[in-house]
């Protein structure tokens, strides 16, 4: 099986949220509240247990040339966020039940029949994607439409995207395609376009890449995401020191004081 991926191109996204709807429909994801946020047209706000695609509305003061707007109009950039399906996935490493696995497509999948809702994946995802669904008790996130991929189909969000903003395919080919697209955008004068794929950090690259304009931080994409597993050597060293100190301290304290009691009281 080839490793598949997503390339979500914000320069082609029109913010229609068809991906959000298609995902909910196909995967039977419940609603997670009807919110009015006041933050542009984004009322989903964040990925979560019941939002596996989330269109971000990055709205700016008038900036000539950006987004093709006329001067005087504010600029719009839309970017459909999704689970990154990290090469080194914090949630997968941390899962104590083995519920979270790597599939034959290279994606990270939560097996709903095994998850017991311990909540440890929630605090180990450096992108804040996976969450526990309160009324269900288990952790949920994008499945990369594992069922559809098994049947040779593309994920529901990519299928529904009307502009080709969400591309699905062979990961390596998508990476090339993304780089070509960035070069094309640069040639067209959009010098702030870039491909977000943190290969330099311990996450080691993601299977859902994003082509964005401007600073990745405006999209809540962390510039240096790290998989928490890298902290384990330091943490266990500290635990080892602590355990040794406890053992030696207890033995020494009792050895020094013998069986004696302190002054009679």
């Amino acid at each position: 099986m080839t490793t598949t991926g997503f390339l979500t191109d914000s320069t082609l996204c029109i913010g229609c949220k068809a991906c959000e709807v298609a995902c909910k429909e196909w995967n039977d994801v419940p609603d997670d509240g009807f919110l009015w946020s006041g933050l542009s047209y984004d009322n989903t706000l964040t990925l979560g247990a019941s939002s596996w695609r989330h269109v971000k509305f990055v709205e700016h003061q008038p900036r000539t040339g950006c987004g093709g707007n006329a001067p005087g109009h504010s600029t719009w950039q839309f970017s459909s966020d999704v689970c990154k399906h990290c090469e080194n996935a914090g949630c997968l490493e941390a899962c104590p039940t083995g519920s979270i696995v790597r599939t034959e497509f290279g994606s990270v999948f939560v097996q709903p029949d095994i998850c017991n809702g311990c909540g440890y994946c929630v605090v180990t995802c450096p992108f804040g994607v996976i969450d526990r669904r309160p009324d269900d008790g288990r952790a949920f996130k994008c499945t990369f439409c594992y069922d559809r991929q098994k049947a040779g189909m593309e994920p529901a969000c990519a299928k529904a995207c009307p502009t080709g903003s969400i591309l699905f395919g062979d990961l390596d080919k998508l990476q090339e395609r993304g780089e070509e697209r960035v070069a094309w955008l640069h040639a067209a004068g959009m010098n702030d376009a870039s491909l977000y794929n943190p290969t330099e950090t311990s996450v080691g690259g993601i299977h859902a890449m994003f082509l964005i304009r401007g600073d990745s931080r405006a999209y809540n994409l962390p510039p240096k995401p790290e998989v928490p597993t890298t902290l384990l050597p330091r943490a266990w060293t500290a635990a080892g020191i602590a355990a040794a100190a406890m053992a030696i301290g207890s033995l020494a304290a009792f050895a020094m004081c013998g069986s004696g009691r302190s002054a009679k009281q």
Binding site: L35, W36, K56, G98, V129, A218, R234, T237, A238, A255
Partner: protein
């Protein structure tokens, strides 16, 4: 942020009254639009997800820690030929702690009926998996030691006691690893300190509990003072990293300076010792709650994961 007409009306009223809207993420002054940007992330919304754990988890950190340290104290006391009741009490605290810990952990699961899935695999990379197995081993050893003692099976009691002490060391320390090796900034920043901090807290609570049960062995006072001395140092470390949590400050005072001063100044006073033991116990309990709460607050702040230093508007 519920999408109710009430909320809309509230914003409209505020806009009418003051000419601006102060709701989070909305920057009305001089601008009609809330703006995401490099300096405040995506509208200042949280990037990470806060821990979903409720009160059971920090309470378990406290109970499990005290039980683990108590198992170690039981072995040390027994080897030194200390009072038999002290050894017995320490052993029972360990077993009782294990018995209380298990339902606490199970009830916090989203699917408690699937708790056995925790022992489906052993994953050294997952501190939660290591912890589940440590608790399973500890629970077995600690209760076996108590039962064997009742049945006067001395060899079984001593072997189980040694097992409980070893796994007890894990119980008192792994919880620091569990919090430290995560994506939550305030926990990850203190990854080198948390296991030692929690171990000191565990030793202090175990010795204090035994003291409150009427044991006046000097070793207990020595252990509790040592732990309090470390907590004084830990307090400084936490303050230096700029953590502003009232609960954590209160916990630090109760775990460090207060019991240490009471023990040093009132060395011959029974009341001072009792007060010190009570302060340590309270401090140890609040410490775990304060750290879990600090993690929740930290997850809501997108500045650290985005590498921003400016304050959010």
């Amino acid at each position: 942020m519920k999408a109710t007409e009430e909320r809309l009306d509230e914003l409209r009223r505020q806009a009418e009254r003051t000419g601006r809207v102060d709701a989070k993420g909305i920057r009305a002054a001089g601008s009609p639009l809330p703006e995401p940007g490099a300096e405040h992330g995506y509208y200042g919304l949280p990037l990470l997800k806060p821990p979903v754990w409720t009160w059971e988890i920090p309470l378990y950190f406290f109970v499990g820690g005290a039980a683990g340290a108590s198992a170690m104290i039981a072995v040390a006391a027994q080897l030194s030929g200390a009072d038999e009741t002290l050894v017995r009490h320490a052993r029972r605290i360990a077993a009782l702690g294990a018995v209380i810990s298990t339902p606490l952990l199970i009830s916090d699961l989203g699917r408690p009926e699937r708790f056995l899935n925790m022992l489906r695999v052993f994953k050294p990379r997952s501190p939660m998996s290591v912890g589940a197995w440590t608790l399973a081993a500890f629970g077995g050893f600690a209760s076996a030691a108590v039962v064997a003692d009742e049945l006067r099976l001395e060899v079984v009691r001593d072997v189980a006691g040694a097992g409980a002490a070893l796994s007890g060391l894990g119980m008192a320390t792994y919880t620091g690893v569990l919090l430290g090796a995560t994506a939550i900034p305030v926990w990850a920043e203190h990854v080198n300190m948390l296991p030692i901090h929690f171990a000191a807290s565990a030793v202090a609570s175990a010795s204090s509990l035994l003291e409150l049960l009427g044991h006046r062995h000097r070793a207990l006072a020595l252990l509790a003072s040592g732990a309090a001395a470390y907590e004084v140092y830990a307090t400084k470390e936490v303050a230096r990293s700029g953590v502003t949590s009232t609960a954590l400050k209160a916990a630090s005072l109760l775990s460090g300076p207060i019991p240490l001063a009471l023990r040093l100044l009132g060395i011959r006073s029974k009341r001072a010792r009792r007060a010190a033991a009570l302060a340590s116990l309270a401090g140890s309990l609040i410490t775990r709650f304060a750290w879990v709460e600090a993690g929740k607050a930290s997850a809501r702040d997108p500045r650290a994961p985005l590498g921003l230093t400016e304050t959010l508007t």
